[in-house]
Symmetry: C2
Subunit: 461 residues, 2 copies
C-alpha cells in the first residue's frame, strides 16, 4: 500500500453532480480528487438524458415541419434512422470521455480512475491507492436501473436505459416494462425509429406523478404513434428463447394470463442508488439504498460526508444533482446555503411529444400536502401563437394556486416544445411572485406564452 494522498475534498462519481461539485471547489482553490470508475460525464451524458433526447428529437423536428404548410411539402421523406443513430453517437462521443479531460485539468482536479470505497473517516480507497480528505468526501455515484423481482427477468438479460440509449440498431419489436419518464421517452423514441413498441405499466396511467391531463396527452400521442399501451397490468414472468445467436425473442407473461413477445425488453421501472459497494456499512450508514442527507447534503452524524445527486434519493434529476452539488460545495467552502428546491416539487421535463414540463405541486400533491389550493386549466392550442408552433397539436396548461398566499405552488404544461416554457413557472414559484403582480408580466403576442394571460385572467376573475 502506497502512502496516503491528501486532498481538501474527494468527490466520488464524475457525473454531472460530481463534476459540478468538484469544479466549483477547484475554482475556489481547493485541492480536489475526482474518482470515477466509468466515464467522466456520468450516466446522464452517455446513457440517459443526452442520448435519449438525441433519439427523440428527429421525429419531433420532422413532425413540426410537417405541421407547417410550406415546410411540410419539403419534408416528405422518411426519417433516416442511420443518421439519427450517428448523431446519437456524436452526442455521446462514441462513449469516449476524453473530451471531458481538458475541463478536469483546467479546474486543477486530480482525476483518479477506479472504484472507490470508504475506508474509515475521511478516507477513500481506490484500488491500491488510499486518498484522504482534509475537509470532506462527497459521494455522487449516481443510480442504475432497478431490476424488479420478476421470475426470469435477470436471466433474460433485458435492456436497461444503458442498452436502449446506445443500441447500434433498432429492434423490430420492443417491450417496455414501466410507465415513468424513461419508459415513455424511450418507447416513443424507438417507435419513431421503426420499432413496434408495447408499454406494460402496472399503474393505471403513465407518468403517474404528473397531472392526469398531461398523462392523457402523452398516452394519446404514444398510441397515435403506434405504441401499444397496456395499463394496470403486472408482469409475472420473463423468458428469453435461446435463438440462433443466443438472443432469441423475449416473452413476458402478464398477471392476467396474456403473454407478449418481442425482440427486446426494456426494464424501466425506477432506479436504485449505486451504494452497494461504497463501504458505507463500515460507517454504520446503511448501504444498498438511497442515503439520507440533511438540507446541507450531509449524512447525519458524519459532518464530513456529503451525498449529492441521485444517490440521496431526493430528486433524481440531473439539474437537481447539479443544484445540490453547488449547495454542497458552497457549504464545504463555509458559505451560507439554503435549499429552496427539492424533492418531487423540483422542476422537471419529460421530452416526449408532447413534452411535459412541470414544477412544484400537482393539484393532487398540493391537496395531499394539506394546502388550500385551486387549479386553473387552459389549453395551449387556443392561443394565437399556436397558429405557428405546434399547430393542430393539443396542449394543456395548469397552474395550482395557493389560496392562502395567492402565489403559484405548481404549474404543468404539456404540448409541442414546451420544455423551455417551464422556467417562467419555476421563477414564479420559487420567486413567490404574488398572482396580482404576475398579471402585470405581459406575455408577447403572438407567442404561445399568452396562455399565461388566459391562466391569470381565469385565476383572478
Amino acid at each position: 500500500m502506497s502512502e496516503v494522498e491528501q486532498f481538501d475534498v474527494i468527490v466520488l462519481g464524475a457525473g454531472p453532480a460530481g463534476e459540478v461539485c468538484a469544479g466549483r471547489l477547484g475554482e475556489a482553490g481547493l485541492s480536489v480528487a475526482l474518482v470515477e470508475q466509468e466515464l467522466i460525464g456520468g450516466e446522464c451524458s452517455f446513457y440517459a438524458c443526452m442520448p435519449s433526447k438525441g433519439l427523440l428529437r428527429p421525429a419531433q423536428a420532422l413532425a413540426e415541419a410537417r405541421r407547417v404548410p410550406g415546410a411540410a411539402q419539403a419534408a416528405t421523406g422518411e426519417l433516416d434512422v442511420a443518421a439519427a443513430l450517428a448523431r446519437r453517437d456524436e452526442i455521446i462521443h462514441d462513449l469516449d470521455d476524453s473530451a471531458q479531460l481538458p475541463w478536469v485539468e483546467d479546474h486543477g482536479i486530480a482525476l483518479v480512475r477506479g472504484h472507490g470505497s470508504l475506508h474509515g473517516e475521511r478516507r477513500l480507497r481506490v484500488g491500491e491507492r488510499l486518498l484522504a480528505a482534509r475537509r470532506a468526501i462527497v459521494l455522487a455515484p449516481g443510480s442504475a436501473a432497478a431490476m424488479p423481482p420478476i421470475d426470469g427477468l435477470r436471466e433474460a438479460r433485458p435492456w436497461t436505459n444503458r442498452e436502449a440509449t446506445t443500441a447500434k440498431s433498432i429492434p423490430a419489436s420492443l417491450l417496455v416494462l414501466g410507465g415513468g419518464v424513461v419508459a415513455v421517452e424511450l418507447a416513443q423514441a424507438y417507435a419513431s425509429l421503426g420499432a413496434r413498441v408495447t408499454i406494460v405499466e402496472a399503474l393505471d396511467r403513465l407518468i403517474s406523478r404528473e397531472e392526469p391531463p398531461a398523462s392523457e396527452l402523452v398516452t394519446q400521442s404514444l398510441r397515435h404513434g403506434g405504441v401499444e399501451v397496456l395499463l394496470g397490468v403486472e408482469a409475472t414472468a420473463v423468458e428469453r428463447e435461446p435463438g440462433a445467436d443466443g438472443d432469441g425473442e423475449v416473452t413476458l407473461t402478464l398477471a392476467d394470463g396474456r403473454s407478449l413477445s418481442a425482440e427486446q425488453l426494456l426494464v424501466a421501472v425506477g432506479r436504485r442508488a449505486r451504494t452497494d459497494s461504497l463501504g458505507l456499512d463500515s460507517l454504520g450508514v446503511e448501504g444498498g439504498g438511497y442515503v439520507e442527507v440533511d438540507d446541507t447534503m450531509r449524512v447525519p452524524g458524519h459532518d464530513w460526508l456529503y451525498v449529492i445527486g441521485d444517490t440521496n434519493g431526493r430528486a433524481l434529476l440531473t439539474h437537481m444533482g447539479k443544484y445540490q452539488a453547488r449547495l454542497a460545495a458552497d457549504h464545504i467552502l463555509g458559505r451560507a446555503v439554503s435549499l429552496r428546491s427539492d424533492g418531487p416539487l423540483s422542476p422537471r421535463v419529460i421530452f416526449t411529444e408532447p413534452q411535459v414540463a412541470a414544477v412544484g405541486h400537482t393539484l393532487a400533491s398540493a391537496r395531499s400536502a394539506g394546502l388550500s389550493v385551486r387549479a386553473v386549466d387552459q389549453s395551449i392550442d387556443a392561443v394565437a401563437g399556436a397558429s405557428f408552433v405546434g399547430h393542430g397539436a393539443p396542449g394543456m396548461a395548469r397552474i395550482v394556486i395557493d389560496e392562502d398566499r395567492d402565489v403559484l405552488v405548481g404549474a404543468t404544461f404539456a404540448g409541442v416544445e414546451v420544455a423551455d416554457w417551464l422556467h417562467a413557472a419555476t421563477i414564479a414559484v420559487i420567486g413567490e411572485v404574488p398572482l396580482e403582480r404576475l398579471a402585470h408580466a405581459v406575455p408577447c403576442f403572438p407567442t404561445r406564452s399568452e396562455v399565461w394571460l388566459r391562466l391569470l385572467e381565469s385565476a383572478l376573475d
Copy 2:
C-alpha cells in the same frame, strides 16, 4: 339625423386593444358599442403580426428540421411558396372578419360599422348615427405605416406592411426601406419565399433599439439568407417606371449617389397614429399624431376619454395594447389599477431567425436612465440543450442587473425559437425577484433554459 343611441361605453377601433377593452366591459355587464370602419380584429390580425409570422414560419420550421440529423434527410424538398401563401390566407381568414362576429355577439357588444369621429363630449358620430357614452369613450384606432418625406415616394405607390403581408405572389425583387422590426421580419420572410431582397437603413445597425449583439446576429442571418443589408444609407428619391401593366420597376436613389431597382418597394420606417380624422381637434386635443395619456390611459383634461393601443404611442405592440385595454376597462369599471409595464421597457419579440426576445432595459438604455447596472452575457449554443434545438446556430443571452437593488432590469435573448423564453425574464423583471433568489430557480437539464444557470453563476460570482 336619427336619435342619439346611448351606451355605457363606446370603443372606437376593433383591433386587439379595442376588442379586449370592449369584451372586458361587456363581460362586466356594461352596454358597449364597438365602432370599426375596417375589419374586426384590426391591423395585427390581418396585416401585421399574424400574417408576418405565417410567412416567416415555414422557413424556420424547415431550417430546424434540417439542423437535426435523421430529420434533415427527410426534409430535402423545396419550401412550397404556394402552400405557405395559402396558409397565410387561412391565418388572415382571406381578409374576412366574420369569424369574429360570434365573439362580439357573445359579449353583448353592439357592433357599429363605419368611420367614427368625436362629436363633442362623450359623443361619437358614425356616418348618420350619433352615439353617446354615459361613462367613457375609448379610442383605439391603431396605427398605419409612416410615409417619410422622400421625393416621389408616395407617387411610386410603395408597399406598406399591408401589401407585404397580403401579397398574392412573391416579387422577384424587393427593396425594404427601414431596419426596424417590420423591415427585418418581412425582408427575411420574402427572402425565404424566393425574392431577392435589399434592406436600406439610415441608421448604422438594424433593430437599433435592441442590444447590439442581437442586431449583429439578425444582420448575419439576413445576409446568410441572401438579403443585402445596406446600413447608414439614406434614400433621397424614388421613381417607379410605368411598365406594361402600369407597375414597372421601382428605383431608389441613395444619398451616396447609388441607385437600386426592384419589382417592389416596402416602406417600413415606423408608424403613425391613425388620429387625423377623429375630431380630436374639436376637443382641443392635437390630432394627427400620438395622443398623450396618463397612467390610466385617459387624455388629460378629458376624464371620459381614453386612448389605448398604438394610438397613444407608449408601446406599439399588440400585447401592450391589450394590457392597456384591460387597465382602461378596469379603470372605467371603478377598479384600482396600476401600470407596471410600459413604453420601450415592454416585453417584445422579433420573429426573425434568430428570434430576438427582450424585456426591460438594454445595457445602453439602463445607463441612459441613470441606473447603476452591469450586463452579463452568455452564448446559448454552449448549453447542453443546444445539442437538440437550434443545433449549430448561434445565440446570445444578456441580462442587465441593477446593482443597487440586485434585480434584473432587462434581458435579451437572440436565437432559434427563443420567443417563449422571454416570459421567464418578464416575470423576473416585473416580479423584481432578487438575483439571489433567482439562482434557486433551477432550469431543467437538458433544456436551453440552462443559459439562466450560466448567466446567474456569472452574475453572482
